[in-house]
Structure formats: structure tokens, C-alpha cells
């Protein structure tokens, strides 16, 4: 069953390679995505036991990330059919193969318990995402691709060094190097502190680069800005969640060691606050709305890092926020892709009055903005509220206070870009681009919005139970 999770997308990539017709090829995506969604549902309802040897096990944390990945991918896959239909002038073979190969690698990230294999899968996603950012084939997108590829490869290389340090710390401790999570957690108290410290730093920097924590986020605005909205949604919802899972694994080992966790939490808090501060500064007066979404992603990885750094009750909020962030970003990136198609521009001096030209996409973008900045009734409000309240319950007033301040600044900064763009009057001379809202390009973001609305009003019991299980693994209150 778990093998199918990885093999079916790979088989789909092969089928996409074989189909010669540009118009029919994207249909492979929703077919594979529906099967993937079905398999995930079965796995979540009756989780299989760990494999012999302990390499493969879908633990609660893996389940949460798998749910994020499969939901965002399924909706993006349906959107892709509508989107690629408008872009028939380009071959979409590489795009279809790339996203399916990425889906396979992301599946592997969520199910593996071997940190080495997790690294391999994460690096695979980096490499396969690069050609997708270059979909538009112009000078700007090649620049974004180059920066993304080089910075992420170097970052993830540092994570590999951290991983080797971790293995060496087990070797110094008991002459039996291992990178299996279960064995690492069981023996974490004996690990050599110096090597574990070095390992934690390198892995935080490495996976933090992949996740886009400031000051390692520099590739993010370029890559998110130049990639098609569909790829942006997969980067912000899928890859970020997978990189976050890698950091959670390091967190688990540090927590089990008992001594390293104090430093690790402080480092996460520092990077988290730096991220939301960067986002607050660069979000204001941002003229390019796709770059603005990239900074919003930097903000949200910052929130995730802060929640991990706070620990205790905030851990539940962190895991919940992971899902909410993925879906809210999906709404924004997919609807921004529609707006980009309509206006053939992504700067706010041209894009004005979207609501009157594209009522559906404009409305979705506006609702997505309200959701992503943490306003009720959408679920990001619930998760951010959980994180902030746990900071205050712990008596960490300064952290809670600054967190609120930055969120307010980000809300204002983002509103200054979004509101004139959505409301306003449309420009006089309208360039006809032949795009109009259709079911396949509006439906998927609408479904995402409905899901975060539903989660915000009444999260289902099985999800709450799963998030609690995950928080317990991270040392949160049961």
C-alpha cells in the first residue's frame, strides 16, 4: 500500500512522458492525484504497522504532512488541466512529469523513518522542481531557476553534512552508526553532545534554506514570483511542509537527547522572528503580487518555527497551521495565476479592479488574503490563536506581544497591496488576453477555501486526534 504511494506517481510520470498529445497529457495529473488521495485516505483510516527493519512507517507527523501534500496536489492537479489548456503554446511534458516525480518524492519524505532516505527524497524534490520554475522560458525565470537550484542545493548539502555529524555522534557513543529515527530517539541521551550540537546547527540551516526561513529565504521571492501559480502552490504547500517535516525529525532527536533541545528551540525562535520581521518589512509596498505571496510564505514558515520554539501547547498549533498554511497558500497562488493570465502582468500598477473583471478569481484572492493573515472565520486564525495563547499562558509576554505586532504589520502591508488591486477601478485600455474564469481554474481554489472555512468553524474529530498524536510525539501535552 505504501509502495503504491510512491510507485503510482512514478508510473504516472512515465505515462505523461509517453503521451504525445499536448492537450490530453495533463489529464494524467487528476487521475494520479485521485488515486493518491484514495490511497492516503485508506492509509490514514487504518495506519499500517512499521515495516520490518523500521525504515518505513507512517507515524502521526508523517500522516499530517501526507495529508497536506495529497490535498494540495489533488486540487492543483485539477487546476492544472484548466491552466495548461490556456497555455497550449508550450509543451507541458516536462511540467507534468516533474510534478508527478515530485509527488513520488514527497510521498517518500512522509513515510520514511530513515533520515538518510528522507534527505535523498528531499533533494530529489529540489532537483525536479527546478525545471518547473523555468516553465515560462524567459530571462527572468531562468534567473529564478538558477538561484533556486544553487541556493537550495548548497543548503541541502549542508543538511547532509549535519546528517553525517549525527551519524558520527552515534558512532562515538556506541560504535554503531545509525540514522534510523527509532534507534536515534532510543539512544539519544548517550549521543555525543558536541557532535549532536554541530549536527543540529547544520541541519537547521540546511533544511531551513529549503523551507525558506530568513535569512536563508533569498531564493523564495524570485522562484515564487516567476513560477506559474500552480508550481508556486506546490512549492508553498507541498515542499515547505516536507522540509518542515525534516526539521520536526531533528526536533524529535534533540528532544529525546534532553540537552540539545534548549538550544534548538532558541535557534528556531530566533530564525522565526527574523522571518516574520523580514516579511513585515518587504511585504509593505510590494508592487509584484506574486513576490508578495512569497514573503507571506516566509512569514508563515516563521510562524511555524516560532511555534516549534515555544513548544508545549503551541505544537498543536504548529501542526494545524501547517495544513492551514498549505491550503490558504493554494487559494492565493492558484487565483493569482488566473489574475496573471488575465492581465498578462503581475505588478499592481497594471493589475487593478480585479473584482470587476474577474469576479470569481478576484473574490477568491481577497478571501485568501483574509484567511492567510489570520482573520476569522478561517482556520489559520484558530492555529495562530493557539500559538499566541500558549505563549501568553507560558508567561512569555514579550514573545507573544512582538508576534502580535508583526502579524498586525504584515496585515497592513499586505492589505495595502491587495485592496487597491482587487477593489479599485480597472485600467482604461484593456488588453484582451482571452482568459476567462472557468470551472477548472476557479473550482480547485474554491474547494480549498471551503476546506479552511470548514476547519475554522468545526475541525473534524479525526483531524484533531491526529494533530494531538503528532503533538505528543513532539513532547506536547497529551
Amino acid at each position: 500500500m505504501i509502495a503504491a504511494l510512491i510507485l503510482i506517481p512514478l508510473f504516472g510520470a512515465f505515462v505523461a512522458f509517453c503521451i504525445p498529445d499536448n492537450r490530453w497529457r495533463p489529464v494524467v495529473l487528476p487521475v494520479v492525484a485521485s488515486i493518491h488521495l484514495g490511497i492516503t485516505a485508506m492509509l490514514l483510516l487504518s495506519p499500517p504497522p512499521p515495516s520490518p527493519g523500521g525504515w518505513i512507517w507512517l507515524d502521526p507527523l508523517g500522516r499530517i504532512v501526507l495529508l497536506c501534500v495529497t490535498l494540495i496536489f489533488a486540487l492543483c492537479a485539477f487546476y492544472a488541466v484548466g491552466y495548461l489548456d490556456c497555455r497550449q503554446e508550450r509543451s507541458n511534458r516536462i511540467l507534468c512529469m516533474g510534478v508527478l516525480a515530485c509527488l513520488a518524492a514527497m510521498g517518500l519524505v512522509t513515510v520514511t523513518q530513515h533520515l538518510g532516505l528522507l534527505w535523498v527524497a528531499l533533494e530529489t524534490t529540489t532537483v525536479f522542481m527546478a525545471p518547473l520554475i523555468y516553465f515560462n522560458r524567459n530571462a527572468r525565470s531562468i534567473e529564478a531557476t538558477w538561484k533556486y537550484l544553487l541556493i537550495c542545493s548548497v543548503g541541502i548539502g549542508l543538511a547532509l553534512l549535519g546528517l553525517l555529524f549525527l551519524a558520527y555522534s552515534t558512532y562515538v557513543a556506541h560504535r554503531d552508526a545509525t540514522l534510523l529515527l527509532g534507534a536515534l530517539i532510543a539512544t539519544a541521551r548517550d549521543l555525543n553532545p558536541a557532535w549532536l550540537h554541530a549536527a543540529a546547527i547544520f541541519m537547521l540551516v540546511g533544511y531551513g534554506t529549503k523551507m525558506g526561513l530568513a535569512p536563508l529565504h533569498t531564493w523564495k521571492p524570485d522562484a515564487y514570483g516567476e513560477a506559474p501559480g500552480l508550481v508556486g502552490a506546490l512549492l508553498a504547500g507541498g515542499l515547505v511542509s516536507c522540509a518542515f517535516l525534516a526539521i520536526l525529525r531533528v526536533y524529535q532527536v534533540c528532544l529525546a537527547s534532553g540537552f540539545e533541545i534548549h538550544f534548538f528551540r532558541k535557534a528556531l525562535l530566533g530564525l522565526g522572528f527574523l522571518s516574520i520581521a523580514f516579511a513585515a518589512v518587504f511585504m509593505a509596498k510590494q508592487a509584484d503580487f506574486k513576490r508578495m505571496l512569497a514573503y507571506s510564505s516566509v512569514e508563515h514558515v516563521g510562524i511555524l518555527a516560532i511555534a516549534l520554539g515555544l513548544g508545549k501547547g503551541a505544537l498543536y498549533g504548529a501542526l494545524f497551521h501547517l495544513l492551514n498554511n498549505a491550503l490558504a497558500k493554494g487559494v492565493l497562488f492558484l487565483s493569482s495565476g488566473n489574475i496573471h493570465r488575465m492581465y498578462n502582468s503581475k505588478t499592481t500598477d497594471v493589475v487593478k479592479g480585479v473584482l470587476s473583471r474577474l469576479p470569481w478569481s478576484g473574490g477568491l484572492f481577497l478571501a485568501g488574503f483574509i484567511a492567510v493573515t489570520g482573520s476569522p472565520p478561517f482556520s489559520p486564525f484558530i492555529s495562530e490563536y493557539t500559538i499566541i495563547s500558549s505563549a501568553f499562558i507560558d508567561g512569555r509576554y514579550w514573545i507573544g506581544g512582538f508576534f502580535l505586532l508583526f502579524l498586525a504589520l504584515i496585515f497592513i502591508g499586505m492589505a495595502m497591496t491587495v485592496l487597491p488591486m482587487i477593489m479599485g477601478a480597472p485600467p482604461e485600455e484593456i488588453e484582451s488576453t482571452g482568459y476567462h474564469d472557468r470551472l477548472l481554474t476557479v473550482g480547485p481554489p474554491l474547494v480549498m477555501l471551503c476546506v479552511i472555512f470548514w476547519l475554522g468553524i468545526r475541525p473534524p474529530a479525526f483531524l484533531v486526534a491526529m494533530l494531538l498524536d503528532g503533538a505528543v510525539l513532539l513532547g506536547g501535552m497529551p
Partner: protein, 213 residues
């Protein structure tokens, strides 16, 4: 046997300095290929022979010594350039920095608590020095190809450290790491090709359209 391994590691560090000092790209690529072959030989010198080890050695020599240098050489050929011109920091200063970094790596390695059987070996300083050299090349050179070479040198540095753990790492993970490196360099080669077509140059300082206004 271990003294021979140490001599090879010294050679690895010397190759680092050679790469910092040269402007000819094809020469750098050959140097990185030689470094890859040495890296492939090293596991056989520090660990007792086994089939797993022989397989790793063969694959490393083929990937790092032949296939990857071929990919980069191909990209150089297609972009029709020979030399790195005007690096952000000159050759002599980077060479001096490289030497300083190598010395610092030795000082740093002294501080780390190594397992007793590894204490006499040069693996940790060689690994650190190679990693830092890779960084230096990555950050000071303008040409996209030099940056790929820098990335490769950095990966070689990580690999040197990994040699201490060759027996512990499962073959599947080793193979995965090498395959990712291979595909990564292959994709970088393609991207370089597109950069040179788009900008008629592979000077990455021309990649500056994307920034905050």
C-alpha cells in the same frame, strides 16, 4: 595503509588550492575529476575489503571521476568559454584565504571529539578545508560553471567526512545521494545552457533583474 590515506587527503587539499589559483575552466574540471577519483579510492584504504565497499568505490569513481566532469565539460563546450574572468575577489587573495581556511580547519578538527581510531587521520580537517574551498569558489566566481564546480567541491568535502561512516551508511542511501548529485549537476548543466542562450553569456552577475525595488 593509513599513512597512504593521509597522503591522499593531503593531495585532496592541494587540489583545492590548485582550483582556487587557476582561471582555466577545463583545468578546474580536470582537477575536480582527479579529486573525485581519489575520493573513490579512499574507502578501500580505511575499511576492510567487502563487496559493498567495492561497489561503492566503483560507482564513486565512475560518477565523480568521469560522468559529472563530462557533464560540466559539455556545458563549457556548448557555452564556448574557456576562462573565468574578473572574479569578485582575485586569484591571489582567494588562494591566501584558501590557505587560511585550511589552517583553520586543522584547528577546528583538534577541538572535535573523534572516535579513538580516527584521531590520527586527516579526514576531518581535509573535509572542512574542502567544504570551505567549495564555498569560496561558489561565492567569489562569476561564471555559472565555476559556481557548479564550487558546489561539486563542497559536495566532495562532505563526502570526505562521510568516508568515516562508509560502513554504517546503507548502500541504498549512498546510491541515492550520488544519484541526486548526478541529476542535480545534469540539471544545472541544462540551466547553464539556457542561461548562455538567453544572455549570450554565463556571467551570473548579469542575473540581477529580480530584486526588491
Amino acid at each position: 595503509m593509513n599513512t597512504f590515506a593521509d597522503q591522499l587527503l593531503v593531495l585532496v587539499m592541494l587540489i583545492n588550492l590548485v582550483m582556487l589559483g587557476t582561471s582555466r575552466l577545463l583545468f578546474s574540471i580536470r582537477a575536480v575529476a582527479v579529486q573525485g577519483v581519489i575520493l573513490g579510492l579512499l574507502p578501500g584504504l580505511v575499511h576492510p575489503f567487502s563487496l559493498h565497499l567495492a561497489a561503492i568505490m566503483t560507482v564513486v569513481i565512475i560518477v565523480k571521476g568521469i560522468v559529472i566532469p563530462y557533464f560540466i565539460g559539455d556545458a563549457v563546450h556548448k557555452a564556448r568559454i574557456r576562462r573565468e574572468v574578473e572574479p569578485f575577489i582575485g586569484y591571489v587573495p582567494t588562494l591566501v584565504l584558501g590557505a587560511v581556511f585550511t589552517a583553520l580547519s586543522f584547528a577546528f578538527a583538534e577541538k572535535l571529539p573523534l572516535a579513538p581510531e580516527h584521531e590520527e587521520l586527516l579526514f576531518v580537517p581535509a573535509s572542512m578545508a574542502t567544504l570551505l574551498t567549495g564555498f569560496l569558489i561558489l561565492t567569489t566566481r562569476r561564471k555559472a560553471i565555476s559556481q557548479v564546480i564550487g558546489y561539486l567541491v563542497m559536495e566532495n568535502g562532505i563526502f570526505v567526512f562521510g568516508l568515516l561512516l562508509t560502513e554504517a551508511m546503507p548502500a541504498m542511501v549512498e546510491a541515492g545521494v550520488l544519484l541526486d548529485l548526478l541529476v542535480g549537476i545534469f540539471v544545472m548543466g541544462i540551466v547553464i545552457n539556457h542561461i548562455s542562450r538567453e544572455f549570450s553569456s554565463i556571467d551570473t552577475s548579469r542575473l540581477r533583474a529580480l530584486k526588491e525595488e
